[in-house]
């Protein structure tokens, strides 16, 4: 039985994979619980999973955590979509017209190596502590990465597809709309999913530094009172939101691009 799970480079039934995934979570929680309740580490540093679960409920009932979540999710999606609507057309142009690529690539390569957290003070000086500076942090963190990813996806469209288009009588614009975009779309959507994940990283940085609402702000202010269970519950909430978004993206990807299934 156990042996059948460990066959070298062998696929497993979907059901078995799900059970093993749940098993991984349970294993983690068990080790956590045993460590926390053994008394070796003080509960201020490591509360039990049950204490964290109770804190999770308290966050919603006593601290209006739901509105913090809505604020954070709103910021992430607003900044993310702002990145997407600019990065996608620019990325397409960069890979289509060499001149656009030659102008933008070195500049973007420089910008994307600037550590975004280091830009926060500057952005606060520019935009104050309002929503604009937080959106700017998220946008800076994703836009320059995304534009290069989109350009790469477009470049990877096989030349034969494009040459076929030319010899079938398509104009450049038609090749872009009818061939390049549909061909690159599956990889683009995948890259959007990954970029959205990064948004959450930068969101917490932005909300810790300058905010009076949102998940990051909540976590940071509870830290001051050493409310470790609440802090951990807040972190776990981000994990859950991330997991759900990721799964939604994967589900949509599988539905939209069912032709990739073999």
């Amino acid at each position: 039985m156990i042996k059948s799970l460990f066959v070298f480079r062998h696929a497993l039934p979907r059901k078995t994979e799900i059970i093993l995934g749940i098993f991984g979570f349970i294993l983690f929680l068990t080790i956590w619980h045993m460590t926390a309740s053994s008394g070796v580490i003080r509960p201020e540093f490591l509360p039990t999973p049950f204490a964290v679960a109770q804190a999770f409920v308290r966050l919603f009932t006593e601290r209006d955590f739901a509105s913090d979540i809505i604020v954070s999710v709103g910021r992430v999606w607003f900044a993310f979509l702002l990145s997407v609507v600019i990065a996608v057309p620019l990325g397409l142009m960069m890979s289509t017209y060499r001149a656009v690529g030659a102008i933008l690539e070195p500049f973007i390569d420089f910008l994307r190596y600037l550590p975004v957290p280091a830009l926060v003070p500057l952005l606060v000086i520019w935009f104050g502590v309002g929503e604009t500076s937080k959106i700017a942090v998220l946008w800076m963190g994703t836009f320059f990465q995304l534009i290069l990813l989109i350009a790469d996806d477009t470049k990877r469209v096989p030349t034969e597809y494009i040459e076929s288009g030319h010899t079938l009588g398509a104009s450049n614009g038609q090749i872009m709309r009818h061939i390049i975009i549909p061909a690159a779309l599956p990889n683009m959507i995948d890259n959007l999913r990954i970029t959205l994940g990064w948004c959450w990283t930068y969101l917490i940085i932005a909300e810790i530094v300058a905010a009076n609402s949102g998940i990051g702000h909540m976590i940071w202010s509870l830290r001051r009172f050493v409310k470790t269970p609440e802090v951990m519950a807040g972190i776990i909430a981000i994990g859950i939101i991330g997991l759900l978004t990721d799964q939604a993206f994967r589900f949509a990807h599988a539905r939209l691009f069912s032709y990739q299934r073999r």
Binding site: P158, Y161, G169, A183, L185, Q260
Partner: protein, 266 residues
């Protein structure tokens, strides 16, 4: 002879990345092809035959010389010159029928209803009607090449350019498609340039075989295959095999001599 396609003094040189060394791919080369003719470009690998065909297709630009099609000077690619590639160029996001219909997408000479008819006509011709709703990653390589051929025919090009279209297929599938192409050629009478390095494929399909030298490409010999083995005999598998083999050996000897020259030169 009717000069439907006329290639005049075409040259092509590739430069290395640092622009220090040049490689002449095509020497001043001239060639004419008649309307409805099936011409096989044959030559040692890397000799520049594909480059010449891509120049005719407008996908690459010659350095010098000109190409005319029915008297019109040609530049970039357009719908008059349809291309079938060696790699599978059917679109994975479209089903078999949608792929073939894509060939009619940019035609303004036919109505929407006619486009549907044309699509069904060519889908039937390549024997894929039963696979109409399949995505192309779920059909075999041979079927994908048939999709590409049908899609190109549906666009109604004046000439069909085929770049080793059966090169990646297994022997049985290749033979099947060769005979299918002969049938298509009989009903369509489409002017075709077909690049191959397979001598038997060239003899089987050709009206005329053009043998190229090793790089830089120049025409070594042209052979009117119909004068030796009538196309009907080849199509019906009743060709005089003695003649077939002696022609094959003659061509192979020319190519071998060319190949030896390249090896000795380097």
């Amino acid at each position: 002879m009717d000069k439907f396609i006329k290639v005049t003094d075409v040259t092509k040189t590739y430069w290395s990345e640092d622009r220090k060394t040049e490689t002449k791919v095509v020497l001043p080369l001239s060639l004419t092809i008649a309307e409805g003719e099936m011409v096989m470009f044959l030559g040692p690998s890397g000799c520049g035959k594909t480059t010449l065909m891509r120049i005719i297709g407008g996908l690459e630009k010659q350095d010098q010389g000109s190409i005319t099609l029915a008297g019109d000077l040609l530049a970039g690619p357009d719908r008059r010159r349809g291309m079938v590639f060696q790699s599978y160029s059917s679109f994975p996001w479209l089903r078999v029928r949608e792929n073939i219909k894509f060939g009619t997408r940019y035609r303004k000479d036919v109505s929407a209803a006619e486009k549907e008819e044309i699509t069904d006509h060519y889908m039937g011709m390549v024997g894929l009607s039963a696979y109409s709703d399949f995505y192309t990653n779920r059909i075999s390589g041979g079927m994908r090449q048939r999709v590409a051929i049908a899609r190109t025919l549906a666009s109604s090009p004046d000439i069909l350019l085929m770049d080793e279209p059966f090169g990646a297929l297994d022997a049985q599938t290749r033979e099947h498609l060769q005979f299918q192409l002969m049938d298509i050629n009989k009903s369509e009478k489409k002017t075709t340039i077909f690049v191959t390095h397979d001598v038997e494929e060239a003899i089987l399909l050709a009206d005329r075989v053009v043998i190229f030298s090793a790089r830089p490409a120049r025409v070594v010999k042209e052979i009117d295959v119909n004068a030796v083995i009538p196309v009907e005999d080849r199509r019906n598998n009743t060709a005089d095999m003695q003649k077939f083999f002696s022609l094959r050996n003659e061509i192979l000897e020319i190519i071998r001599a060319e190949y030896r020259q390249t090896v000795e030169a380097t």
